[in-house]
Amino acid sequence: MYGGDEVSAIVIDLGSHTCKAGYAGEDAPKAVFPSVVGSVDQMEVDNPDNPEDNSGSAPDSKSKGKRRLYVGSQALGFRRDLMEVLSPIKDGMVVDWDIVENIWDHAFRECLLIDPKEHPMLLAEPCSNTQQQREKAAEIMFEKYQVPALFLAKNAVLTSFASGRATSLVVDSGGGSTTVAPVHDGYVLQKAVATSPIGGEILTDCLIKSLEQKGITIKPRYSFKRKEIRPGEFQTVDLDFPDTTESYKLYCQRAIASDIKECVSRAPDTPYDDSSYSNIPTTSYELPDGQTIEVGADRFKIPDIIFNPSLVQTIPGMESFAETAASLRGLSQMVIESINKCDVDIRRELFSSILLAGGTASMQQLKERLEKDLLEESPQAARVKVLASGNATERRFSVWIGGSILASLGSFQQMWFSKSEYEEHGASYVQRKCP
């Protein structure tokens, strides 16, 4: 039992795309940075980079073993020779705890400027987190950071809390995956959780590929110089960095493409088909190199992949994903199936409180489209209601906000898994303490 709410807790939501960290009780995370890291093999380079860069990124980078890791959007924004971009998370599971530790370190020491010894930590975890993963997380938190107390809460539960509900169906469409999870009385109904790998990143990749098909290449910002030769007139000079890794290039391209996606795309009201959207008015977008592109049908086609994964097959260059996509179900089917796996008693309630959360879910018109699709497919008696917060920030950070609400509850303070309990019972006690 941990009885101190005098020091505010820290809430960390390490997603597949972005890591959100901040103080409990606030309405938005203080630190939001990509949850990927840049890694440079120490064997190859002993950073002969300019000194001011070294001083800037030195705290972020931890030389563990042979590699040096760069965490945070600033450190990643700087191109380095042979820097690979790595993600600690694969299919929703942490595969590289070393990277995770670096990310946590960055969040604590760089972004929040706190001593983890003094703050209880609330970690958000994926719904289908395994026992080993939870124990490992608890172990690192207690052993390495010596946190006074810890709590692990499921993403879906926190999202549900963020909208003040104990029972709801959470549709969390994030960077790496989309998860549909029914939550009842603060517990995720594990049996009915549906997951699909279609997330923001897949959509971004699809957008890049389909733009490439039209002859548009997105030039990463580092690959050219742009200067104003006359007022209002710019000249771009391509630069060549042969040592840039493919993953870093992709990372930069994705950053731009995801911005295009967020700016122009919009979920279509009806299922997408090429013919009816062939002469849709285009929307222009100016790339960083000054090139202006016109996005037409892709505006609607890309978001529709969420509802109809088989569309991926029509995009050239996505063949690697196309096979898996064929077996995936659309978002509305996932919702229906998930609800049908639940107890009959709560189905009605679930139908009437479908919560949209996550970055991808903040796409325009997604809520309306999902509601419309569900209305068609749901049983007559069900009253379908898709709920999504009005502003995009709240939708993007709903998991974190739920954590913030939970950790700031006065009566929650005795639910913490405290350090002394960890010392007495070991890491496996987390299974009991954190439902």
Partner: protein, 562 residues
């Protein structure tokens, strides 16, 4: 060995057989268990719960402690054996106790079972002070039960009755029973083989014997009853002695007992000896530390284990100080603990989720909304402030144009005025200059006229003077003074008035002559004057050209230097 002697009446009260009895098994306790379990199994449906509580108790208790706890004023007879390790005596005592227990169970009033419980009775009835009444009660009950058994000499029947009896007291019994049963051991209690079996094995008396024996013992022991008993069942002999202590319970106090004792038969005495010895050996010394565990039934009907300190001890009563034991640590199965904990956490979680979350969410949303509105208000205020500042500067800016225009106009007006003034001044100056010139000219003219007049006058006077001298020589004078005629005429005209006053014909004559001469002179003068005039005119014309040239030069200079 026992049985043989049992049948002889003379042996009846001789406990030798029992004392000499060799332990049939190494584990005395086990044997004992056998008995007790037998009791219990017979005892009836209440068995299970009893057993359980018993188990707990036995588990906790130390052998020694338990022993002492069981030893009591009245039941002490068997307890001596406890002190020595495992001895015959002990065995015997235990046997006796069992018998007692069994009997008590049969007796089965709420009071009677307690009696066996080593001095519990006093406490059971709600405190040591009550002892007397309870003793009475108990005694009565015991007698009842004894008589009952006596009547139904078949133990089976008695058993049944007992179970009937137990009906109303069921609860009590189930609570008390275990205590008896766990007499066995701190070794885990097991349900042992039926007593009957053991009895045959070990040559113990059968159930029926025991019962009868008990009953018999309970009553004040007299030979008659004994004989009756023997008649009904011969085998109960030695058993009786084991339970010997019971009769004492009848007595209200030690004194009563002492008084009663002499009346008892020899057998009784013998039993007493045993019991006394036991008492000496293992009873609780008065004022012992409160380390004795006892189960005490409170008035509320709750059986609770107390640590008891015996302050005073009588045969049938005990003054004790009791204290609640420290809560024993529950050593539960880890899985049970886990389950319970998870249940607890789960319950708490659900409560939190159901009640707290929506409430707090509302607070959060309100806070958020408030923050938003605050931010909005703040920004609006900022906007207004900035706008005000900007508008002020804007006003200044816009005013600048107007002001400059106004300024320019003012300047224009000013300069116009200045110009006008200057022009006026110049005009005035010019006028003044012109006037001055004119005045100068006039002055000069006047001066010239004056000069001319003076000249003329002087001429005239000269002429007149001349004429005066030349009056005779008039002709000459006339010719000579031609030039002076004008002046003379003027003088004449002026002088004529005077002559007019004193006209004289002579003078008229003269005057005619003068006139003639004057006329001549005038005509002469006129001619001279005209000649002078023409000459003068010529001179003036020449003089006038010069000033005009000077004027032109002045104009030139003016242009150059305004």
């Amino acid at each position: 060995m026992d049985p043989k002697r049992r049948y002889s009446y003379s042996n009846l009260f001789n406990l030798e057989s029992l004392i000499n009895f060799q332990l049939p098994q190494l584990d005395d306790d086990f044997d004992h268990h056998g008995n007790s379990s037998q009791d219990e199994s017979r005892g009836s449906p209440g068995g299970a719960p009893r057993n359980r509580s018993n188990g707990i108790m036995s588990g906790r208790e130390l052998k020694k402690k338990r022993r002492t706890s069981y030893s009591s004023d009245e039941d002490g007879d068997g307890d001596r054996g406890y002190n020595t390790h495992i001895s015959e005596e002990r065995y015997r005592a235990m046997l006796g106790e069992h018998v007692q227990k069994y009997k008590r169970r049969l007796g089965n009033s709420s009071a009677s079972p307690a009696a066996t419980r080593n001095g519990v009775p006093a406490m059971r009835s709600g405190g040591s002070r009550d002892q007397k009444s309870t003793n009475d009660h108990r005694g009565a009950l015991r007698l009842d039960s004894a008589s009952e058994f006596f009547n139904n000499s078949t133990q089976k029947l008695g058993n049944h009755i007992q179970s009937d009896f137990s009906g109303p007291y069921g609860g009590d019994r189930s609570i008390y029973e275990p205590a008896f049963l766990d007499l066995g051991e701190d070794i885990t209690y097991r349900i042992p083989p039926p007593y009957e079996k053991l009895a045959t094995l070990l040559n113990l008396p059968t159930m029926s014997d025991i019962q009868v024996n008990e009953i018999y013992l309970k009553g004040t022991l007299d030979l008659e009853t004994l004989a009756a008993m023997m008649a009904s069942d011969k085998r109960l002999g030695p058993k009786r002695h084991a339970g010997m202590s019971d009769p004492k319970t009848q007595f209200e106090s030690l004194q009563a007992r002492l008084r009663a004792e002499p009346a008892n038969s020899a057998g009784q005495k013998f039993s007493l000896q045993v019991s006394e010895a036991a008492l000496e050996a293992s009873s609780i010394p008065e004022g012992a530390a409160g380390g004795i565990r006892r189960s005490i039934l409170s008035e509320g009907g709750v059986l609770q284990v107390y640590y008891v300190k015996v302050l005073e001890k009588g045969d049938t009563y005990e003054i004790i100080e009791r204290s609640l034991p420290k809560k024993p640590k529950l050593k539960k199965d880890p899985s049970v603990i886990e389950k319970e904990e998870m249940d607890k956490i789960g319950k708490y979680w659900i409560n939190l989720v159901r009640k707290e979350i929506p409430k707090h969410h509302k607070i959060f949303i309100n806070f958020h909304r408030k923050q938003l509105t605050d931010a909005k208000r703040f920004s609006e205020t900022c906007q207004r402030e900035v706008k005000m500042k900007v508008s002020r500067s804007l006003k200044v800016m816009r005013g600048a144009a107007i002001r400059t225009r106004k300024l320019a106009r003012d300047m224009l007006v000013f300069w116009k005025r200045v110009d006008k003034e200057m022009a006026e001044v110049r005009k005035r100056e010019e006028k003044e200059a012109a006037e001055a010139l004119k005045r100068e000219q006039e002055l000069r003219e006047a001066k010239r006229q004056q000069q001319r007049l003076n000249f003329l006058l002087s001429q005239t006077e000269l002429y007149s003077h001349f004429m005066q001298n030349k009056s005779t020589l008039s002709s000459e004078a006339v010719t000579l003074g031609d030039e002076m005629t004008n002046d003379q005429e003027m003088l004449l005209s002026s002088s004529e008035a005077r002559p007019g006053e004193e006209e004289d014909p002579e003078e008229a004559e003269l005057r005619k002559e003068a006139l003639k001469a004057a006329q001549d002179a005038v005509s002469k003068q006129k001619m001279m004057t005209s000649a002078f005039d023409s000459e003068c005119l010529k001179l003036r014309q020449a003089a006038e050209i010069e000033p005009s040239q000077q004027d032109a030069a002045a104009a030139n200079i003016d242009l150059l230097h305004p």
